[in-house]
Point group: C3
Chain length 353, copies 3
């Protein structure tokens, strides 16, 4: 793993080193670890106040901290506006640098009618179909499959075992992880009177805008018409399902095993927890947060948090979950009330006569 000095870390993170003026910037760091685990060779970060104790006790060689943190701790500090963001930017220094030859290697199966830009790498046993285009600096790993008329933007990476079916368009700086399938057939069938399924040919395509990442074994269906779209910078974790004609805005983050049904329209900056399911044809507003395992049967307004199956406002869902614990007992209490009330009524009745 590459090594970096505290000065390099500060530069990458956009921060200021402390103590200033000394040789703090020359401290050499070999990796990254949380406060409780980091040793003198590690960079760490302290953003969330609940880790204060870990911070005070940490043996980290340097720590990225909030700009206004008050502390007497004798460690190299790197002060930034947002420690987690600073850490993300500094961590790149420790990541192994992938080197690719920037050419089509022998054993790659590139169709003569495909165009591979200068500086792009196509590894052996990768398949690139006719009329496909690979942008500058893109990397197609061994055993990746690109069908016909696939377009891969500059610097995008397609990992092994991924399949990009005919006509799929991938923007720049995208990452298609191992086993992901883009442009799978949409799931559309009409039924005969006898109940047989007649396939509705899915004539559309898929567009991933710039900076999109798809996790391992994630599936994105081609559109019935037009294109299934995943907006700029959106990130999908592993084993996610995106059905035909979904239109997802930029900067969304979908955790693993989420399922997005057909024609869902999702705004920008939405966060979906693991195993969330969205019904088809609904709209999800900008910056919506949906808790793990929620099931969303109908459209959701943006800028709010939801939870549960069916999904409700986060606060109501939590109150229901707490209330459910009391439900078995509540039934008994109501039964008791009914008996006591009946007794009172019986007592009251004769008096009324």
């Amino acid at each position: 793993m590459p090594r970096a000095t505290a000065a390099q870390v500060a530069k990458a993170a956009g921060g200021i080193i402390e103590p200033a003026g000394g040789d703090a910037g020359e401290v050499i760091l070999g990796g990254l670890a949380p406060l409780a685990v980091a040793g003198p060779d590690d960079l760490s970060w302290f953003g969330d106040k609940k880790y204060r104790t870990d911070f005070e006790a940490s043996r980290a060689g340097a720590v990225i901290v909030p700009r206004d943190l008050e502390t007497d701790k004798e460690t190299v500090l790197i002060r930034v506006d947002n420690p987690e963001l600073g850490m993300a930017r500094a961590a790149v220094l420790f990541a192994p640098v992938a080197e690719h030859p920037g050419t089509v290697l022998e054993g790659a199966l590139v169709h003569p009618a495909a165009r591979v830009a200068e500086g792009a790498t196509v590894y052996p046993l990768a398949v690139v179909g006719p009329d496909s285009e690979i942008g500058e600096g893109a990397v197609i790993y061994p055993l990746a499959y690109l069908g016909a008329r696939v377009k891969i933007g500059a610097r995008s990476v397609v990992q092994p075992q991924a399949a990009l079916m005919d006509g799929v368009r991938i923007g720049e700086d995208c990452l298609i992880q191992a086993g992901a399938v883009v442009g799978a057939e949409g799931f559309g069938f009409a039924q005969t009177p006898e109940g047989a399924h007649v396939k509705i040919p899915q004539l559309g395509s898929v567009t991933l805008e710039d900076g999109v990442e798809l996790g391992a074994n994630t599936a994105v269906d081609r559109a019935f018409y037009g294109a299934t779209r995943i907006g700029r910078g959106s990130k999908l974790d592993n084993l996610v399902q995106v059905a035909h004609n979904v239109d997802m805005g930029p900067d969304c983050a979908l955790a693993a095993q989420v399922g997005v049904s057909g024609s869902v329209k999702m705004g920008r900056g939405c966060f979906l927890g693991g195993q969330v399911g969205l019904a088809d044809h609904i709209t999800v507003g900008d910056r919506t947060l949906i808790g793990a395992q929620s099931g969303v049967p109908s459209s959701l307004e943006g800028h709010q948090a939801y939870l549960g199956s069916p999904a409700r406002s986060f606060r109501l869902a939590q109150r229901i979950m707490v209330s459910e614990n009391k439900l078995p007992d509540l039934i008994k209490r109501v039964r008791t009330l009914e008996k006591r009330l009946a007794a009172l009524e019986a007592e009251a009745a004769p008096k009324g006569e």
Copy 2:
């Protein structure tokens, strides 16, 4: 994309053109789109009455409509019994025609003891193991894997990155999408007294009957004994799990991320929404509908709809979901009732003396 005339559409859809006798049949269409989106170059369809406004305003070049629709709209109409079915049949006209060379291409890894029928295509970098059989007109894409003794029926298609393990039998006109795995090991283990798992070898196989489709990255386990079976014409979406010894009837449709546990016996024509889970060894009757995210712990009678986890009759499940919204408040109301009742009782008690 291929183009088609309204007359060709009418023929494919089994419908009648209106206005008759003119040149309506010669209108040329270039694609398919919903009413609200379609332009003069597009075919559209109008089946569900709730889209009446969209229909009246639609700019579509031609619209497939119910045979008895009353309308003054001046568009080319194609009258059919079932517009969605008609649309499915007409859409084929606009789908690109896949052309395959119908032979084993150089670079395909076909075992000498495999048999490939006339007119079948095996692409480069596809693997076909010993004693496997590929039927007439079948297509094995690059990077698809077929183990030993795999049988592929006529006209079936195996997409890239799919894996058909030893002994798997695929019927005619099947589609195995990218990344699907058929014949994975069933998940069967016995436990030693110390808690270690001892694998139970899964000696059976998998049979997909004619017309079955498996979505991207779907997994079907081989049977413990005999064969896991998926019935004729059943369609499975992406990322579905079918465990060992499942016996699924014909014409079922399973949406994405459904999980069917071991030895489930499912009837014909069942519809399962996304992320549904079925417990092992249960029976699901014919034409059962199961709503998305339902969890089914025990057998279900057919010809009914179910919802929820645990799954209940659709109507009860919906009533419960509505009731849950009132649950937190209900607890307060019961507490209030208890206090008020206690007060009344206290009042009543002395009077009784």
Copy 3:
């Protein structure tokens, strides 16, 4: 399928044949099937008392039974301590013996700087990256991908379409099924003030200890730092997600479509039903049982069973599920109580004057 005598079965299962002294041990068996299905050519087993009727009526050629079973049934019996375990051990006799050439085959893409031990098999179209090591007797199937610095222990098997990314370490006697991805990027991003996701490079790796099995299309993420770990002998079914920095103990069993979020610490011998989801950073104690579709938001004590979303003790969850059926009615009953009580109060009030 290989055949075996009852004597061979008894030896493999660690049991005693009955009737003793005769030629019972020479009965030849050709397969394995449950009691109700088995014919005279099949071995069966009888462990669970609820199958007593099936046992009495079974036509099986031989049956593995509990050591102390009392029966007059005239069949070849093989008495063992644990019939299911005995069956698992005997079933191996009927499993086809996979024969591998034990060498690197022509057409395999093995980097010159990779080391392949004696007796290991690397099939054609498998990819093995630089500095990777394949242990003795290991098998790398066609179309499997191993990146750089991957280590595969002795006798481990990597099936087709699997991807083991750079630096992943697989122990001995492991099975990586088709389409599984080990060492996928962890899902870690920091957000800019504008809401864009900045990737946090995942610098760690994955360690699968000895005897681990991963199902088809299962994904295991590399760690953010250090290593994601799956403990010795743990078995993961198909389509399971294991996020970065999960630390799973030995002998766990995770059914299909389970999702384990980042940094979960799981003890030994846990059983998770299908589609269970675990929130990040929680701890799950030893021998925890979690029912299918449960959602676990917080840490769980071991040696107990849980169910539901959110997960509760199994007993409470079941009581809640039963109570929910009465919830719609309960609301009506409370409304009735309120009216009756109000009437009583109204009656009582004037009397009090």
